[in-house]
Amino acid sequence: MKWISAAISPPFIRKSDSVTKIMADVLFALLPACGMAWVAFGAAPVLVILVACGSAVLAEFLFLRLYFGKTDTVADGSSLVTGALLACTLAPFTPLYAVAFGGIMAVLFGKVLHGGLGRNRFNPALVGREFMAVFFPAAMTSSAIWYDQKAVNFPSLDILPDAFLNTLVFNGSGAIGEYSVLFLVIGGIYLLLRNRISWHIPLALTLTFTLLFLAVSAGDYSFSPAGVLLGAIYMATDMPTSASTRTGRVYYGAMIGAVAVLCIAFGVRHAYMSYAILLLNGFVVPINWVFRTRVWGEKAHLPLRLAQGAGITVAILGMAGGVIWLHTQEWIMYLVLFYIAWCIGSFLFRQYKPDIALNDA
């Protein structure tokens, strides 16, 4: 006498968690920092956030339907996170058509063409941002998008006795996600407590960045602390595009910090975090191999691992030099065009495959 036709395989109990819950936590963590954009400039930056999120979700829906004929993953919230993170890197008065373009490109070239969630090599939000910089250079480099006297809501907040502490809570200049160091950190602590990120990348990144910056800079350079934190806590920790083991994450974070300082030292003024993270995204596969776990009973093979580590470090620094050179030549555009060709090519020639689903009841 049979009760049920097909047997399912163990484990039969699962931790109650899902992609949707992870994405909801990231959005929740970003919310206070994004709220400060309203404090700074009122409705304009809020509109940027909404357009970025809306265009990302819409793009995901349309392209999934078009390419894969299924839209069941739209509700996982990952495109909302992409949109929100993209908005965080943008200026408060970015033209909305450019924002919508960025949201669509972030999802299409950042995620969908690679096979959807988790299959992408590069951080989708930063991909969207680079597309905007390349295709709307005039709008993106105009100084008008960064400040509008008429829109200022609160020039500063005086809630703490010390002026410096007040700027940590609120500092009304920079990109939409960069107005509050305090809220970025609180959001990061929330993600840490919820086990959505690990401390390795943010800590290694900020430490390396700070130390190298102090070593390199004699007061000639400047950087945005909130921008570095936004990158360290929310961008560099993006799961699919970051390193997979603890040691790998420390290395990955540290190298992002190093490449970012290198970019600053050679004159990359705004995009240093974006370049550094995207560059290291590209090296995640070899990093995961060199910093793979030492399997139970396996010898450490330390000299070999060190040699391999030195090898990829040289490769990363070499590539960083190349990117900085392209940037100074204003040829980043060609890099993006090459990326577009690569995405389309790999989409056409590699068949999309879902994870195998055996024995599902």
Binding site: I4, P10, R14, S244, W296, K353, D360
Partner: protein
């Protein structure tokens, strides 16, 4: 994984009870995988309790004995969880419980050289799951083993059968250890228990104080899954990381489950055969959850009927929730290696893409990167699976348990291993 102890709390304090016997018994002829016993009775034969009904032809299989008296209905083929047909002897219980003439029970210890024969005659196999015949496991090359490790770390959620056994049949446990060790002459005898069962130390204390059990020690390992897996227990005792294909026995470590040792004691002292075992019946769908002693061969469906459980809205599992198997058929029997029958909520599993969150890497007791197996299988890249030491995986299921995307990691692992066995 603290929440696991909550699942055990339901049955932990429950005494071992008996249930009514089933009118039909389905005696599995398989023991250690792929090895079968050959029936020695035919349809229509009358059999007595403890009578030999199937004989082991090779050292990897084990004798099967009738757990009740009654009539043989015949050998039937049943599908096992992998779909392969396996033979079972079907018995019809006459409820008279007439015992076969057992050997005369001597008052003195069996001499060490007869121990293996007695264990083989009793059909004693490992109760931990793999059902490895003890007569083969304890066959040493004449050298003293380095350690005899008695595994009482029942790390699967819900299961408390081993705990109940250690608490209620402590005397048999210690006698079993002593008798087996007259053969093994282990340099060290260690009973390993989980931190959640620390109170057993006081249960063991009077025994440990006795002269005849001198030198035995109890090791408490931290709570968590899969801390009771054989290699993790050996690591806890010796600090040695033994990855497959290397087996602890190769280094002179003998690991036995507590239930196995108690069954061995019964075979060596009382000279009775292995025809029953203690299982935990638990899960969200069970009202009278507890630890029950049941005859081997009892259909899971009959157990559910006894406890008034409908199988239709639940997932019925034989064994633990992490490594057990899904029971789809009324007649699927309790085997010598099943630690429990679980009635779990039937929930659809939503599979999503891997997002490389690396929970699986952190959960893996062998420090593997399970996400690479799902990726390797998806890309049809067996090389990737090999490079990441697929053969070291002990298939404990911890990775898939924690996966937020419910990626079919275990299916990838099993499929990958099967492909590699066929030579890729």
């Amino acid at each position: 994984m603290k929440q696991f102890s909550a699942t055990k709390a339901v049955t932990k304090e429950r005494k071992i009870e008996a249930l009514a016997e089933s009118p039909f018994l389905y005696m599995p002829l398989s023991a250690y995988h792929g090895h079968f016993a050959r029936p020695t009775v035919q349809a229509g034969d009358r059999v007595l309790k403890h009578q030999l009904i199937a004989k082991a032809d090779d050292p990897f299989s084990a004798h099967v004995h009738a757990p009740v008296s009654g009539q043989v209905l015949g050998v039937k083929e049943f599908p096992d969880p992998n779909g392969a047909m396996t033979p079972m002897l079907v018995l019809h219980n006459d409820f008279e419980g007439t015992c076969a003439d057992l050997h005369e029970v001597p008052s003195s210890d069996p001499p060490p050289e007869t121990i293996l024969a007695l264990l083989a005659a009793g059909g004693v196999v490992g109760e931990g799951g793999a059902q490895f015949p003890t007569a083969l496991k304890y066959r040493t090359s004449g050298q003293r083993v380095n350690a005899f490790i008695i595994n009482g770390v029942e790390c699967e959620p819900y299961l408390t059968a081993d705990y109940a056994l250690m608490r209620e049949q402590t005397a048999a446990l210690f006698e079993g250890i002593r008798l087996i060790n007259t053969l093994l002459l282990a340099k060290e005898v260690v009973i390993v228990i989980g931190a959640d069962n620390r109170e057993l130390e006081t249960v063991f204390a009077p025994y440990l104080a006795q002269e005849r059990y001198a030198g035995y020690r109890v090791l408490v390992v931290s709570e968590g899954y899969p801390h009771g897996s054989e290699r993790q227990v050996v690591y806890a005792v010796t600090g040695l990381e033994m990855a497959p294909p290397m087996h602890p026995s190769a280094e002179g470590f003998v690991v036995s489950n507590v239930g196995t040792v108690v069954a061995a004691c019964r075979a060596l002292v009382d000279r009775v055969t292995m025809v029953k075992r203690v299982i935990t019946i638990s899960g969200e769908g069970v009202k009278q959850a507890g630890n029950y002693e049941v005859p081997i061969g009892t259909p899971v469906g009959f157990l559910l009927n006894q406890l008034d459980i409908s199988p239709h809205h639940h997932t019925i599992v034989l064994g633990g929730p992490m490594m057990g198997r899904h029971v789809t058929d009324w007649a699927s029997p309790v085997t010598k290696g099943s630690g429990g029958v679980l009635v779990l909520p039937r929930e659809p599993v939503k599979r999503e893409n891997c997002i490389a969150c690396d929970r699986c890497t952190e959960a893996c007791p062998m420090r593997l990167m399970p996400l690479k197996y799902a990726e390797g299988w998806r890309r049809n890249d067996l090389g990737m699976m090999k490079r990441h030491h697929l053969h070291v995986c002990i298939e404990c299921g911890a990775c898939e348990h924690v996966c937020p995307s419910n990626v079919p990691l275990m299916a990838s692992i099993k499929a990958g291993k099967a492909r590699l066995r066929q030579g890729g």
